[in-house]
Assembly symmetry: C2
Homo-oligomer: 239 residues x 2
């Protein structure tokens, strides 16, 4: 009997809009899917990851699945407990605050460096991404939240990478992943009342104008406002 064969083309059109995840092996693929499921909230905090069940869902063997899960442990999206298997990491507000503070420290510094050292080519790239992003948040279209998520993430990454720093990028990616998860768990995008586009625009314009301080303040404000909104939504339990 032929073993299940895998090819890139087939794998890649599973999810509608996954420019970022270029999966090569089955493990990488399963890893990407699971990470996305955790961040999006499809797999809920505290949920036990029973291998037998997930095997069917991801159409993959037990060992392979375990290997994928293992990676998520190092990213703190999954926690391992002794011989009692794995579960999706729990969440709590204090942790979100902690993540936010650290993210502010790093991202603000990175944006400042970008303003100082960003090349013209970089500015051009930023403009492109900003325009793409604007498309999806003016007006807000709940049907295209996937695309918004993507360009929002790209915008923040690029913003922090005017002076390239791999470790800054990695660290911010990790932190942002977790921020996203909290956001998804708390906020229905349709309920988003604040004008995110205006905030992005402020940051963008400050950067393009070379105004380091203004860019820094706008970035910090943007990150902290998002967190505040998440915390408020938690409080009012508007699930």
């Amino acid at each position: 009997m032929a073993k299940r064969t895998f090819n890139l083309a087939e794998l890649d059109n599973n999810s509608q809009f996954n420019n970022k995840q270029e999966s090569k092996t089955l493990i990488e693929h399963a890893y990407s899917l699971m990470r996305q499921d955790i961040i999006s909230g499809a797999l809920k905090p505290g949920e036990k990851l029973r291998v037998a069940h997930l095997q069917k869902k991801y159409e993959i063997s037990a060992s392979t699945l375990r290997e994928a899960i293992s990676r998520l442990v190092s990213e703190y999206l999954v926690s391992a407990e002794g011989q009692r298997g794995y579960k999706v990491s729990d969440i709590n507000i204090d942790e979100l605050k902690d993540i936010t503070d650290l993210r502010v420290l790093i991202e603000v510094k990175a944006v400042r460096e970008s303003v100082r050292h960003g090349s013209d080519e970089w500015k051009q790239q930023l403009t492109e991404v900003f325009n793409q992003l604007s498309q999806f948040e003016q007006p807000i279209n709940p049907d295209k939240s996937q695309q918004w998520e993507y360009y929002n993430s790209q915008f923040h990454q690029l913003l922090s990478n005017g002076k390239p720093s791999p470790w800054t990028l990695r660290t911010l990616k990790l932190l942002s992943q977790h921020s996203e998860r909290y956001r998804h768990l708390a906020i229905k995008i349709s309920k988003n009342k604040r004008d995110v586009h205006a905030e992005h625009t402020t940051i963008y314009e400050a950067v393009m104008a070379g105004n380091e301080l203004r860019a820094a303040l706008a970035t910090e404000d943007h990150i902290r406002t998002t967190t505040e909104q998440i915390i408020n939504n938690y409080g009012s339990k508007s699930n």
Copy 2:
């Protein structure tokens, strides 16, 4: 035929001095060992991780070993290349500089917070660890470098944790791991000419005196000096 059984006691006395790694499963155990081997330089940068060979070394089955390796990928100590297996991550000076800058940003901030918010109990703990550390660096004893490594790491961690922040701790741990690797690859401990103990003492005393600025400056200086020394040793190829 009985399957190879594993018990904690047996596992734990493999390494002389492993207070930190409390391995439960075989995977966790292998993971700890491999991480240590990479950080210490026993597994060299760029070295291919051939599963068949490592299986014998760690006395573990292929799949189990792969699972352990997977975790190291998320920590950037190992890099995966398509269907071509795994290898120990390469090193280069630019990356060390990058790590150092980020580490300074985070650790200095953390130390400042510690000075502001550290409780009396925390100060007491810090004193204990500082004294332990001093034992092993005054005078420097190459036979006890293991212990020095341990207490040095503890000292820095505690220093950054006067105001507890799990994410700061995790991030610094990750960055410090990589710093350590670079240090081990470049510096033979016996060749360490600078007075590390004096630097630690300066930091410690500033913290105890509640002098935030001085503590911050001393911390930054300490981290950067270490990196400079590594870079110099690379240059002179005193391998």
